[in-house]
Amino acid sequence: MLKVDEKYVAQAQAVPRRSWWPVAGTILFILCAAAFPYFAKAIGDPSLIGLAARIAIYAIAAASLNLILGYGGMISFGHAAYFGMGGYVVGILYNHFASGDPFLGFIPGTNQLLITLPAAIIVSGLLALVLGALSLRTSGVPFIMITLAFAQMLFFLFVSLKAYGGDDGLIVRRRNVLFDLNMADDTTFFYVAVGIAVVYFFVFAKLVRSQFGLILGGIRQNERRMAAIGISTYRYKLVAFVIAGMGAGLAGALMANYSKFVSPDMLHWTKSGDLMIMIIIGGTGTLIGPALGAVVLVGLETFLTSWTEHWKFFLGPVLILIVLFSTGGLMSLFSGWGGKRE
């Protein structure tokens, strides 16, 4: 008789039962986000709007990593590669749009957000397909090392691409165009970024509760058992890896637009570390955890850098303490809200 993980079956069966919390929470969040720019201007600190846009972008990036790291149990230490790739797609397409000569001789440049975003998602997804197909041949610690190494490889590639700025990066003079919106205005850009983030998290929630998401969770808990019941675990892991890469590409493309600048720093391995920190602060394998982690980390960075440039001197020990003594991150404070992992 096969021993069945009772808790897991219960979770799988409990999915259709809806509680009103997520709906109410989403509505409340959208209302707060809509009011936020007015609030920021009212307290006389409009720079908060840009900060919030950055948080929304990092929330997407961290959530995308969380799909493989938290839900799938694949500890990728190279997620910045896809983030940076998304950024460079925007930067390179804009660069060719500005200069007029097509990329590789046949792909015309563009500054249309509706084209650059999907392009960034596709390119990052393809990159994740190649690197993931190789990296997923191993697991455990070698997987961590390999994902880190491949990301570093890409970092060096962009450092050496003098045609696209090399070390100095690439300036995107104007943000991409979306319909007739005034994207140069931070408030408009904030609404666009938050809107995309809300849609992203909505799709993400559907995904992790789908059969695919459940199988992914099963692979995290016991890969051998999933293989034994006839699931091709490699394929599921690879698909998850690609979806995660696409999410990071989306976030990177938005970030390039927000900061009007891309540089190899976006692919630096510490950026991958930052995304992991956001997840562990918020709670691994939770829906909203990465977003909360992004709020905390970006917020801390902004406020502590005004106080000392050596803020990472304090972040390091705090991170160690969080790892050693906490269980489940901030999301464990709100059980119920999709905060439970198992």
């Binding site: 610690v141 450092v159 090399g166 992991m276």
Partner: protein, 304 residues
């Protein structure tokens, strides 16, 4: 031809340096099942310790002792305060906690020593060059590094394969519970292995000082190369670390030395330099990808 031989030797020397780091990393993983990102920080601490003492006292011997002591003490502190609590945790927690250590140590070093790199002068009796083959001079210092590295590699081989501690290390890496059940103080063994790894990293760091600039961030640069070495060689295998390190060292050095001139045959010189540098820094990762395709467990996967 002379140049090729010289670069080959440089590659071997770089490989031996990488081996010192990779051996510690792979030993620590093999026996404790811990991934230690802060291994590169120990390398940096060794380099700083030696560089500062060398600048103050001018004594080469004192500098070596200081570098080793700094790395060793830092290693024991790290083991005692952080790593010891991570033995039974999952790899994600190990990665994040040791990443926290990197942030702390790097920022700490920046606060203490600033961002400007330190340059260390070579000890006078090693600063000349020797003719390895008549007509081909080669820096003595690099030869010294190779000799020290090979001695350490040999000593490590003897230690692991011929001594009682080595026996426990080998037993601990395959049958941890059994070793514990037989009454061996596994904690002490862990501390010894971690300290040994820290000393090796510190040794690599202090020897690298006169060749490279001693600066914050030098540890992570070489840490990632060390990961490549360990993945190519097979995690947990010291023999694999040795051959992996030589492969990475030679490949990297040769590509850096010769790829730009290959590109120059069909490109403008400045672009060829940049692209050559970029592609050659990608070279070892492509080797790693190749190894993954053929043998996902690495070339010398440790059994068990």
């Amino acid at each position: 031809m002379t140049l090729a031989l010289e670069q080959l030797l440089n590659g071997v020397q770089f490989g031996i340096m990488l081996f010192l780091l990779a051996a510690g990393l792979t030993l620590i993983f093999g026996i404790m099942n811990v991934i230690n990102l802060a291994h590169g920080s120990l390398y940096m601490i060794g380099a700083y310790g030696a560089a500062l003492v060398a600048a103050r006292t001018g004594s080469f011997v004192l500098a070596i002792l200081a570098g080793l002591a700094a790395a060793g003490i830092a290693g024991l502190l790290i083991e005692f305060l952080v790593i010891r609590k991570l033995y039974n945790r999952d790899h994600l927690q190990q990665v994040l906690a040791t990443f926290g250590l990197i942030l702390f140590i790097n920022e700490g070093a920046t606060i203490l020593f600033g961002r400007t790199p330190l340059f260390v002068s070579m000890p006078p009796f090693l600063s000349g060059s020797v003719e390895i083959i008549p007509g081909i001079p080669y820096p003595t210092y690099r030869i010294a590094i190779m000799i020290v590295g090979l001695l350490v590699a040999g000593g490590l081989y003897l230690l692991v394969n011929k001594t009682r501690i080595g026996m426990l290390v080998r037993a601990g890496s395959t049958h941890r519970e059994m070793v514990r059940a037989l009454g061996v103080d596994i904690r002490l063994l862990y501390t010894i292995v971690f300290g040994l790894g820290a000393l090796l990293a510190g040794l690599a760091g202090l020897m690298a000082g006169p060749l490279l600039a001693v600066q914050v961030g030098m540890g992570e640069q070489i840490l990632i190369l060390t990961f490549v070495v360990v993945v190519i060689g097979g995690l947990g295998s010291i023999r694999g670390a040795f051959y992996g390190a030589l492969i990475v060292g030679i490949t990297d050095t040769m590509l850096r030395a010769f790829l730009p001139s290959v590109f120059k045959t069909f490109m403008a010189a400045s672009e060829a330099d940049a692209l050559g540098a970029g592609v050659s820094s990608m070279g070892i990762y492509l080797v790693m990808a190749l190894v993954l395709l053929i043998r996902p467990q690495g070339l010398f996967h440790a059994q068990g």
